[in-house]
């Protein structure tokens, strides 16, 4: 079935307008963050005694990788999806051709997955450049990043189809994405959080991705926990797709 690829092509063509800036930020941002947090903050920590067991840059790099994938996947599924429904109405255009709802959804998810595949590959290479990769297992972090991306892009796109106004995204980013970015183990171990908050952190898909990716780049991963993490992320992606199918249909096929 090449139908989803037809929808995918729209997103690629649309991306061509902004690809330069986007590619530059996916190169520059990791370098800036890893320099500031890893090297800068890391050197302070070294003098004060670092309880993490590894240099801070090695600790924070996989966390930043996961958090970046989350942000890009969420952003690419928020405003662009609402635009394709309400502003450019491109989904309506697609649905007046042989494409159906599931092709429209699949084409867009494929595009987000491609963006994540590129960004995470670059990020992993830069992490390696900072000397923060301890094991070839780090390569497994690449497909994990894509599953992580889908675990956000699927539910967020379902939400984008359901929302009536884009103000709803402010709530998503303010109360969902940003707290996850800060408190799901990206910068410090979740065990530092008080009880209650710690359990919430464990429930977020980001924590599962951070924990797995960190074990992979540090070479400390073991099979069953890894499978558990991936299964949890995949469950979010699958549930998100099922929800998206409903919200897209309600919005577009009336």
């Amino acid at each position: 079935m090449d139908y989803p690829l037809r929808a995918y092509e729209y997103w690629l063509r649309s991306y061509r307008r902004t690809w330069r800036g986007s590619v530059i930020s996916s190169l520059v941002n990791p370098v800036l963050y890893l320099t500031a947090l890893g090297v800068g903050l890391g050197s302070v920590m070294k003098h004060r005694g670092n309880a993490l067991g590894v240099p801070y840059v090695d600790y924070v790099a996989p966390g930043m990788l996961a958090a970046t994938c989350m942000q890009i996947a969420s952003f690419e599924s928020a405003y662009p999806v609402m635009a394709a429904i309400r502003w450019t109405r491109q989904f309506h255009a697609m649905l007046s051709t042989p494409l159906s709802i599931r092709d429209v959804i699949a084409g867009h998810q494929l595009y987000v997955a491609s963006r994540i595949a590129f960004v995470s590959a670059v990020y992993l290479a830069i992490i390696a450049g900072f000397g923060a990769v301890h094991s070839p297992e780090a390569l497994v972090a690449w497909p994990v990043a894509i599953v992580l991306g889908l675990s956000f892009s699927a539910p967020v796109s379902a939400m984008a189809a359901w929302l009536r106004r884009d103000e709803g995204f402010n709530a998503l980013f303010r109360f969902g994405i940003t707290p996850m970015f800060l408190f799901s183990g990206t910068f410090f171990p979740v065990t530092q959080l008080p009880h209650g908050f710690r359990e919430i952190a464990y429930a977020t898909p980001l924590w599962h991705a951070v924990d797995l990716m960190r074990h992979l780049t540090l070479g400390t991963a073991s099979l069953w926990p890894a499978i558990g993490h991936v299964a949890y992320l995949a469950a979010w992606a699958v549930a998100g797709l099922a929800l998206a199918r409903r919200t897209y249909t309600n919005r577009l096929v009336t």
Binding site: S14, H92, A93, L95, T97, P98, S100
Partner: protein, 309 residues
């Protein structure tokens, strides 16, 4: 599909949105090569009907066959053979004129090479070749409409669905769109369009139905409808003050019917010129106009309302 079978076949076709009945059990057939119109005011159910034919809106009841197929089962296959001009533009304003065509062609699975050939040919057809590389955003409403028409032709459709193709356009732009549609009609493309402009329906449609409140009020060719439901001519009288109340009997059988609108009085007659002296004498209007009956008069008679309010 056998020859002579209708391109669109609808029986007791119904669309409900919750408690609202948008389309209330309508029957119609559209034959190959025909230009068929749905005429009616906003909210008459025209767009809902078009969306059901376009297989983007599931029917609530009745039977609908498009190109001999069932929209509920064969939606993608049917849509592959339709050309759709929706009421609201679905162009991507940030892409170029040509890119909008290329992207749309790809939705139909047309190869990139073939898409380029068709895009250039269609831009020529709608006289937009010079704007091919410009983004869509700054184009005028008429140009966007022409681009949407070009786009709808990219898959060489057997059946075109045009939902209010010229609403919101200035007169020149409307004529430019009509001219393109005429050419398509001459090439044998079946056109189905909705409009609330009477002149558009008279210009383009071989046959039409007048819809009101979800039902079909009348069906026929524009000329048939005018002959059957109106008189040959109309005398329009305007007055300095209020429109006077008057009975047709005043005109000794010369007036078949009269219609009092807020700003004018319409006298329906077969010989307008003969009626003018008598109208002057009896009513002392400030101005008198004799014109031919139009679909607007038919509509007024059927619904008691003017179309564009």
């Amino acid at each position: 599909m056998s020859a002579g079978e209708a391109l669109i076949h609808a029986r007791d076709l119904t669309k409900r949105f919750g408690d609202l009945v948008a389309v209330d059990g309508i029957d119609f057939d559209v034959q190959r090569g025909e230009a068929f119109g749905f005429l009616g005011p906003n909210g008459a159910g025209k767009s809902s009907t078009m969306r059901m034919i376009g297989c983007v809106s599931p029917i609530t009841g009745g039977t609908l066959r498009v190109l001999g197929l069932d929209p509920a089962r064969d939606g993608p296959q049917i849509r592959g053979r339709l050309g759709v001009v929706p009421q609201l533009d679905t162009l991507d304003n940030e892409l170029t004129v040509r890119e909008n065509l290329l992207i749309y062609a790809r939705y139909f699975g047309i190869s990139r090479r073939e898409a380029r050939v068709r895009a250039d040919r269609l831009l020529e057809f709608v006289q937009l070749s010079e704007r091919a590389k410009d983004t869509v955003e700054p184009l005028s409403g008429g140009m966007k409409r022409r681009l949407t028409i070009a786009r709808s032709l990219v898959n060489d459709p057997e059946l075109m669905l045009l939902d209010e193709p010229t609403t919101g356009l200035d007169p020149q732009a409307r004529h430019a769109v009509w001219e393109r549609l005429f050419r398509l009609k001459r090439q044998g493309v079946t056109l189905v369009l909705t409009t609330h402009y009477m002149d558009e329906a008279e210009q383009l449609c071989d046959r039409l139905v007048i819809m009101d409140r979800g039902k079909i009020a009348e069906e026929g060719s524009p000329l048939e409808l005018i002959r059957r439901l109106s008189t040959r001519e109309v005398v329009e009288l305007r007055f300095p003050g209020d429109v006077p109340t008057v009975e047709p009997a005043v005109f000794n059988g010369q007036v078949a019917r009269l219609e009092a609108l807020p700003d004018r009085l319409l006298l329906y007659t077969d010989d307008g010129d003969a009626l003018v002296p008598r109208a002057h004498e009896a009513l002392r209007p400030s101005s008198v106009l004799v014109r031919r009956s139009t679909l607007e008069d038919v509509f007024l008679r059927l619904t008691g309302r003017t179309l564009v309010d």
